[in-house]
Amino acid sequence: MNIFIQLTYLAATILFIVGIKKLNKTQEARRGNTISAIAMLLAVLATLVHSKLLNPVEIFGCLLIGSAIGLIWARKVEMTQMPEMVAIFNGFGGIASLLVATSDYWTRAVEQPGLSTDMVIIVSILLSVLIGGITFSGSLTAYGKLSGKINGNAIVFKGQHFLNLVFLLAAVTCGILVSISMDSIYAMMIMIAISLILGILVVIPIGGADMPVVISLLNSYSGMAACTTGFVLNNSVLIVTGALVGASGIILTQIMCKAMNRSLISVLLGGFGATSG
């Protein structure tokens, strides 16, 4: 890979770190956000150069559509609906990781079976799909709860944790099938479906008051999903940035829990607010 691209990635990484650091302080927060936006722009530009723009129409078309939708939504949203908006954006980040991993899987399994595919790549693909899927459907469920589109109270039923465990084990089984043979396309599809179901199951038992904490946690997940995608594509900027968000997201989640006098575990196990109206 071109040295220029690598150095641009490095510059972007430094700016991301400075940006997050500044977001910690009231006075500098807005500048911090701008700095991290510049970092993102640098990373995208370097990647555009790296991709040699084989399909310029497709790439710029998608960038344009995405930017327009993002800007319009961000402008239109009411201040009181901000947390919902963050949840839905976060879900989109998750599904993007899932789609990137699936795209890479499809290239290796169907379109170019000759590509050498080792265990690191297969495990990374599977993790990206699993974490990305959970982030997506979990964030959408959180969005539904916050916006009142679905019942905002905690929904608890008997054997919930057991059901989650069953689904998780099924996902692991599908993962093993795919890693034995890349051709197990059905196993891959079931894996995607399970990850989406798991996201819903993980968020429905959590009550409305705990929602911001859950969104923060899902935000951390989307960072981890981006990080595993980095291992799939052998791309350092994805790994570093994903890990930064993944780790700082966990710490922020913990701080938010403390501010609300709740423990992270009790939020995750759910049931809070199940009886309140």
């Binding site: 910690n24 993102m40 789609l99 052998n234 501010a259």
Partner: protein, 93 residues
Amino acid sequence: MSVENFIFLLYILVLASYCGFELIAKVPPTLHTPLMSGSNAISGITIVGAILCIQEGAWSKYLGMAALVFATINVVGGYAVTDRMLQMFKKKK
């Protein structure tokens, strides 16, 4: 992926994670939501992966294009929303 390459990426992962842990220290509670929203925009870095997926091929390209649209919404919308939140802070004070 060679073993050396994998170990190198693991180093990056561990150091970046540690850096992420250290970055968030004493955040004032009013900044919790903007910080969450700001780092949500950063997690849209998958946009880089999506661009790299749009190569030749049929379905792999279409999946990459879908990923690119979603990731771009995440990035652009995320930064714009965070900026609006932080702008509001300034006015209040």
